[in-house]
């Protein structure tokens, strides 16, 4: 029935039109503007105009900014590694817990979706000089001066691991869940001890889960802004803070745009290299 299939494709176009409009005008066009700004020049008065140049990008090669990028990569890598280390045993536990699986999975997902801001604040409450940990230690007489727990890179790392641990557990759980149990039985039948099976069968087979989790954690950590800002205080500067500063206090939009696009480029290259699987496992 040609008339019906015509009507079908008309309906489909109608259904897709609003999302095209929203995504092109509010995602693609803004990124295109940032691309244009990154190639333009800031006048001494702060306005943006010609000449076109690559100066903003070459400024990023300055050792000061290179150090910021390297530090961000380092912290994001450390957070990713810690999330994987902490997340794998939890994923393994959940995959083996029978009927309670869904309950445990919900417990992992719940804080992730609920409020990133409040979860970050909860660590400020614990870590600051007048916070819970220091208060307890002071009252016990174990210390006489509050320990500098907050406003350093360690606190940022802790906040990132806390924030993105669910991103490790979910993909790892998904791969463990798909694992063929007969392989584990075969390993046991052939005389492997449980931990040998874990190391030599389960872990290698979970490799796709590790890869997916790494990409999913590394990317948001690399561009993190809120965590370094709140838990790192004014002292820590990562890519996210650098970009935000250029657009707010420093008002050097062309330079901030160049930094944004370099960040985007790193993210997209990593995605192309590492992630064939899509992020649907998270939702």
């Amino acid at each position: 029935m040609p008339s019906n299939s015509d009507a079908s494709s008309r309906l489909r176009r109608l259904f897709l039109a609003p999302s095209w409009l929203v995504l092109v005008s509010l995602m693609v066009a803004p990124l295109a503007i940032v691309l244009a700004y990154s190639l333009l020049t800031r006048s001494p008065y702060g306005s943006i105009g010609k000449p076109w140049s690559l100066d903003n990008y070459s400024r990023l090669a300055d050792p000061l900014y290179l150090a910021i990028f390297l530090r961000s990569v380092w912290i994001a890598a450390a957070a990713t590694l810690l999330c994987l280390l902490l997340g794998f045993p939890l994923a393994l536990f959940i995959s083996r817990s029978g009927e309670r699986k869904n309950l445990y999975l919900t417990l992992v997902i719940l804080p992730f979706w609920t409020s990133f801001l409040i979860r970050t604040y909860s660590w400020m409450f614990l870590l600051r000089d007048t916070g819970l940990i220091n208060s307890i230690l002071l009252r016990l007489g174990l210390i006489h001066q509050p320990l500098p727990l907050l406003y350093n890179y360690g606190a940022v790392l802790l906040g990132l691991v806390y924030g993105y641990l669910p991103f490790a557990v979910l993909p790892l759980y998904a791969t463990l869940e798909r694992l063929d149990p007969s392989l584990l039985e075969a390993s046991a039948d052939l005389g492997a001890r449980p931990w040998q099976t874990l190391l030599r069968v389960t872990l290698p087979l979970a490799a796709p889960g590790f890869l997916a989790a790494s990409v999913l954690i590394f990317i948001p950590c690399l561009g993190a802004y809120l965590t370094p800002d709140l838990l790192g205080g004014g002292k820590t500067v990562l890519i996210g803070n650098l970009i935000n500063n250029q657009f707010t206090t420093a008002r050097d939009w062309p330079f901030g745009s160049a930094a944004s696009l370099v960040l985007m480029a790193i993210v997209l290259i990593l995605l192309l290299l590492g992630l064939h699987r899509r992020g649907e496992a998270l939702l």
Binding site: F15, L107, L110, R128, N244
Partner: protein, 266 residues
């Protein structure tokens, strides 16, 4: 090595991991009932809750956040669900690519690019940043979540049911309305709840495009958190976590029920 990896330690480890995830929040909630201003337990009190409700700045910011979250949720759910349906039977790689692009773009980049976009346009339109720009920004980032949640549900459906309806003389709109929509409705609601949560909690993008005079709740929380110890903030956090947590639980339950085989075969 052997003992360390012994698998019977797994439940102990899991208990520790869940404690790591939840203890900071539980401690925060417990201290919201502390009568003392300091981080020393003095006795039970609801004074910080009373203070939170009495604060006009907080209630204005909450009202703003609710207006933004409701509007952005309704629009992004409608747009995203329609998009997912359009992509279901015949995918469009470009559109799906842009959906994934919005998910992987770091928040700070989304924020500054929307700021640059609004400022570039508003110079000609003589308009200013405000609640409307926040709503547009929230629609921009939450459509992608809705698309993925609804699309995941659609992919579990049997497309032949719609074809049967079409063969029996239904128009494509009727087939969508009468056959497909009822089965994806739980997923649509689940997606809407997630969109609401993400919108209500956003700070990074919102703070960049909000302009003066349209402060949202996360912006106030951020400012309070930077300023120092504030027990009102503990009370506020406990309430927000409970409220949003309930939405997430409902959303999860709806998604799970839809995934259970046979849940919608009648």
């Amino acid at each position: 090595m052997k003992r360390l990896l012994a698998l019977r330690w797994l439940p102990v480890y899991a208990a520790g991991a869940f404690a790591f995830l939840y203890l900071p929040l539980l401690v925060l909630a417990a201290f919201s009932f502390n009568s003392s201003k300091f981080t020393v337990w003095q006795g039970f009190s609801l004074r910080w809750y009373q203070a939170a409700f009495a604060d006009t700045q907080l209630s204005e910011a909450t009202a703003n956040s609710l207006i933004i979250a409701f509007t952005a949720t309704i629009l992004s759910t409608a747009i995203g669900a329609a998009c997912a349906y359009g992509l279901w039977k015949r995918t469009n790689r470009t559109l799906l690519g842009v959906v994934y692009l919005t998910l992987v773009t770091p928040e700070i980049v989304t924020g500054v690019s929307l700021l640059a976009f609004f400022e570039a346009f508003f110079r000609y339109l003589h308009a200013r940043l405000g609640l409307h720009t926040v709503i547009l920004a929230h629609i921009a980032f939450s459509v992608a979540y809705v698309v993925l949640v609804v699309l995941a549900r659609l992919r579990t459906l049997d497309a032949r049911l719609e074809e049967a309806a079409l063969d029996l003389g239904a128009t494509p709109w009727q087939a969508f309305r009468e056959v497909t929509l009822p089965s994806i409705l739980p997923a649509v609601v689940a997606a809407a709840l997630l969109a609401f949560t993400v919108s209500f909690d956003d700070y990074v993008i919102t703070s960049l495009v909000a302009g003066v005079g349209s402060e949202t709740l996360p912006m106030v929380i951020y400012a309070l958190a930077r300023r120092g110890v504030n027990p009102v903030l503990n009370a506020l956090s406990a309430m927000i976590f409970l409220g949003l947590g309930a939405l997430v639980l409902i959303s999860q339950a709806l998604t799970r029920r839809a995934e259970t085989p046979g849940a919608d075969t009648k």
